[in-house]
């Protein structure tokens, strides 16, 4: 296992390097100049020497490849540079946004996966009955409706009509409410929006995986041995049916960070998705690069987690060199 992890990490280094080089190049070739954005006030152009001084200060006057190498060196030292918009260190900008993002995403991820997997199991155990049919309908409905629409409908019903839940932001600005309860009240609708969509995906995956396993010979054998249905499902079927779901869990890790721009926008949640999109619109290269790199690392990490997870749920899988299955 340790060799597996080590090998995967080594393989990912050239991968991450090419991701960074490619994104750096693409960003720099996009139209729109960050210095012009920073200095220009529509019709009033900043004098050329001011523009030049700014470019020099930000290191944007050097050839792209030098800029890249410089950026790379600094990044390896943990320095992501300064935001071109506010001239603050990028790490500071990210750290200000990260907790809000993690809170929203981890909570909805947890709820979505737990509920999705549980409902998927329920569906698979009583296939094609009323409960399963209803869940299937909900799944296709949930998968088809766009996030922003669901979010707006929730806002319309629970904030606009009922007035039960706050429509936006993550804190109440009036009075001194209980901090935890207040946070939960602000979380309910964005989490519901995000989790509903993800949950139905888990549900469908878990259902089909478990249905597939339940048709296997060894399940019939187990049943023939006279084992109780509960034990057959829990000990024999579910473990095997979790394998594809674990892959999916691992592959969802990168979404934890930036996967929710639309929900963040609708609910005014100050997360990384919005930070990323704002940074793109203002050509804030260092911020975009930092977010891209974090996402790339998370993709690699997610894949690694999926592989490790495989090995954990399925003892047959051995990534060692021995060739044994």
């Amino acid at each position: 296992m340790r060799t597996l992890i080590l090998r995967r990490i080594i393989v990912s280094i050239p991968l991450l390097l090419s991701v960074s080089l490619l994104s750096f190049y693409i960003l720099q070739s996009a139209p729109g100049d960050p210095v012009a954005m920073f200095l220009q006030q529509s019709f009033e152009r900043a004098p050329q020497h001011v523009v030049d001084a700014m470019r020099e200060r930000l290191g944007l006057n050097r050839p792209i490849i030098i800029q890249y190498l410089y950026w790379l060196r600094e990044m390896l030292r943990g320095n992501f540079g300064v935001s071109l918009k506010t001239l603050e260190p990028v790490s500071q900008v990210i750290m200000r946004t990260l907790p809000a993002s993690l809170l929203l995403m981890v909570v909805s991820f947890a709820i979505a996966s737990v509920c999705g997997i549980a409902l998927g199991v329920y569906s698979a155990l009583r296939p094609y009955r009323a409960g399963d049919q209803i869940l299937s309908f909900i799944a296709f409905f949930g998968y088809s409706i766009p996030n922003f629409w669901l979010g707006l409908i929730l806002i319309y019903v629970f904030s606009f009509k009922m007035g039960w839940l706050p429509s936006s932001g993550m804190v109440s600005l009036r009075g001194a409410p209980d901090v935890v309860m207040d946070r939960i009240a602000h979380l309910i609708m964005p989490v519901a929006t995000l989790a509903f969509h993800d949950m139905v995906v888990w549900l469908r995956y878990q259902r089909s995986a478990l249905l597939g396993v339940l048709g296997e010979d060894y399940i019939r054998t187990a049943k023939a041995k006279g084992l109780a249905q509960r034990i057959v499902v829990a000990k024999h079927a579910l473990r095997n049916a979790l394998i594809p779901v674990v892959t999916l869990l691992g592959l969802s890790v990168p979404r934890l960070l930036t996967g929710s721009y639309i929900v963040e926008y609708v609910f005014a949640w100050p997360g990384m998705g919005r930070l990323a999109v704002d940074a793109i619109y203002t050509r804030d290269y260092p911020v975009i690069m930092a977010i891209l790199m974090i996402s790339a690392v998370l993709v690699v990490l997610g894949n690694l987690l999926a592989d490790v997870g495989y090995a954990l749920v399925d003892p047959r899988i051995n990534y060692g060199t021995g060739g044994a299955r």
Partner: protein, 559 residues
């Protein structure tokens, strides 16, 4: 191999044992805690939010939802602020314009103007203190002017200290008297001393790198509210400045809260999370008008939506072509359908409530036949695909429009214009660009055929930005236009100014150098319990919308 196997088994066992569950739960809890602590949410004890001292009076809080604006540092009026209007609550200008658009003193108590209109002497108020207690003096004014004028600082307010590109000379007479000498007479100078031209404190900003100053997160002003907390992309919390020289505010806490989405903002207003929001678009306006306890205030502003052509592109150099394009449009119908109840624009400078408005300009009621005749006269013949051609060149061009944008009207108009011009054989393509790319195409590269966007003219209009050859990007500048602008801008006498601006409006309309569509009207929806909102005047576009003199606002929920 063996070791590897053992490792695997152990991990496997670990996962199988119930121990994994608490670890996962712990991670989840950690995320919750991080989220809870990560943003400074809890108000400092002892500050404002009823901290149980037993006082019967709850602090009154006013929350303004800012739709669509980025709300982040820098909070410094010298720099480009994401939410510039917030600077009006915590800073002051030398001069303000009241709701009748007359100049009144703010930081300056009064001023004298020399007979030739070149020397302004401002007598400053002596009772003004910065939020940190330091006295406000002439040094702050001089410092603000010098900092703004220094090119290296790239100050957003630099333009206010320039008259025709030449700097204003600012001198201290004594601690409370400042003399400003203009390079040439200007009708706009007093307006320049108002607008967004806030005075900043010398004692906090002298010798500091403006771009990275800590001040940009912890601003100190002279205004009715003090900034206490600035949380990026969430809110700005301000507290009343009890020593405000125009009177202590009646609201204790003022919060600007960012809500990017208009619909979410309306919901926040309806359930009382915010007390006021701005309204954009006719659907949103209809929705808030139906809310029971909400007042909707409309006010004029000096923005005009229109299409700008570039002279050397397509066939735009030919006045017959431009007139034909104008005749092809049903302007009333388009505006009614897209923007609703607003004034259709024919004249360059508006709205109609402005003294500078000239209604007597050539108008172009829709006349397809006339449009076609003009194009035929100009030598166009229909090509094989129905698009007009001249000298083997198709009549085609690309209209640039910002998308995504908070305001979706320009994009809607682009689609309608495309249809209307297709009907006379003109092939217009639409290119949607994000703001950075659009600005770079327009202002840096000057690479465009035509664009649709807002042009702005204040109640003290200065058309030079759009029309003077020194700054103009559309290529239609001429000696005649330059002379008219210079005459208008140099004369403090409104009659002379109006005569020149009227001529400019006639020329622009006659030659269709620009196709105006409608005059912007701003709307604010405010909870009915918010009192002290000044009645919007005929032309209340002094930058603050309805929030003029915020220290007079109060909340009366009537027990």
């Amino acid at each position: 191999m063996l070791a590897g196997n053992m490792k695997r088994v152990t991990l496997h066992g670990w996962f199988r044992s119930a121990r994994a569950l608490p670890v996962l739960a712990l991670l989840l809890a950690a995320a919750l805690v991080m989220g809870a602590c990560g943003s400074p949410s809890a108000p400092d004890p002892g500050q404002s939010s009823g901290d149980g001292q037993g006082s019967s009076d709850e602090p009154t809080t006013f929350i303004r939802g800012t739709v669509g604006l980025a709300l982040s540092a820098p909070f410094n009026p010298l720099l480009r602020m994401g939410n510039p209007r917030a600077a009006l609550w915590s800073f002051n200008r030398l001069v303000a314009y009241n709701s009748r658009l007359e100049p009144v003193g703010e930081l300056a108590e009064s001023w004298d103007v020399s007979g030739d209109g070149l020397v302004y002497t401002f007598h400053l108020r002596k009772d003004v203190k910065w939020h940190d207690g330091a006295p406000f003096t002439a040094d702050d004014v001089i410092f603000t002017a010098e900092t703004a004028l220094n090119e290296e600082n790239n100050a957003a307010t630099r333009k206010y200290w320039l008259i025709g590109g030449e700097p204003v000379k600012v001198e201290k007479i004594d601690d409370y008297t400042v003399q400003m000498t203009l390079p040439k007479p200007s009708a706009l100078f007093l307006f320049n001393m108002s607008s967004w031209n806030m005075i900043v404190p010398k004692h906090l900003l002298e010798g500091v790198d403006l771009a990275t100053a800590d001040y940009n997160r912890h601003p100190i002003g002279t205004g009715p509210f003090k900034v206490v907390e600035l949380v990026d992309n969430q809110y700005i919390r301000m507290e009343a400045n009890p020593d405000y020289f125009l009177g202590a505010p009646k609201i204790d806490v003022w919060i600007d809260k960012q809500i990017p989405d208009q619909n979410a903002a309306i919901a926040a207003l309806a359930n009382g999370e915010v007390d006021m929001i701005g309204i954009g678009g006719k659907d949103a306006l209809e929705t808030v008008r139906q809310l029971p306890d909400v007042e909707v205030y409309g006010y004029d502003a000096g923005w005009i939506l229109g299409v700008t052509f570039k002279r050397d592109r397509s066939f735009f150099d030919d006045v017959r072509v431009r007139r034909a394009l104008a005749y092809a449009l049903d302007r009333e119908g388009m505006v009614q359908a897209i923007a609703g109840d607003v004034e259709v624009a024919w004249s360059l400078i508006g709205p109609p409530s402005s003294w500078a408005y000239n209604p007597d300009v050539p108008r172009y009621p829709q006349d397809i036949e006339k449009a076609k005749a003009l194009l035929a006269e100009a030598g166009f013949t229909p090509g094989s695909d129905g698009t007009l051609t001249r000298d083997g060149r198709r009549f085609e061009f690309t209209l640039l429009v910002q998308s995504p944008a908070t305001d979706s009207d320009p994009e809607a108009f682009a689609a309608v214009l495309q249809q209307a011009w297709k009907a006379i054989g003109v092939d217009m393509k639409i290119q949607r660009l994000d703001r950075a790319t659009l600005e770079s195409r327009l202002f840096v590269d000057r690479d465009f055929d035509a664009y649709i966007w807002w042009d702005g003219y204040n109640f003290e209009p200065d058309p030079s930005m759009f029309w003077h050859s020194a700054t103009n990007i559309n290529g239609f500048a001429s000696a005649e236009i330059d002379a008219l602008i210079e005459e208008a801008n140099a004369n403090a006498d409104q009659a002379v100014r109006k005569a020149a601006l009227d001529q400019l409006a006639v020329k622009v309309a006659d030659e269709v150098l620009f196709i105006p569509l409608y005059y912007y009207r701003g709307f604010s929806a405010v909870k009915a319990y918010v009192k002290g909102v000044p009645a919007p005047s005929a032309a209340d576009f002094n930058n603050s919308g309805i929030l003029y003199e915020v220290h007079k606002l109060y909340i009366d929920k009537g027990k």
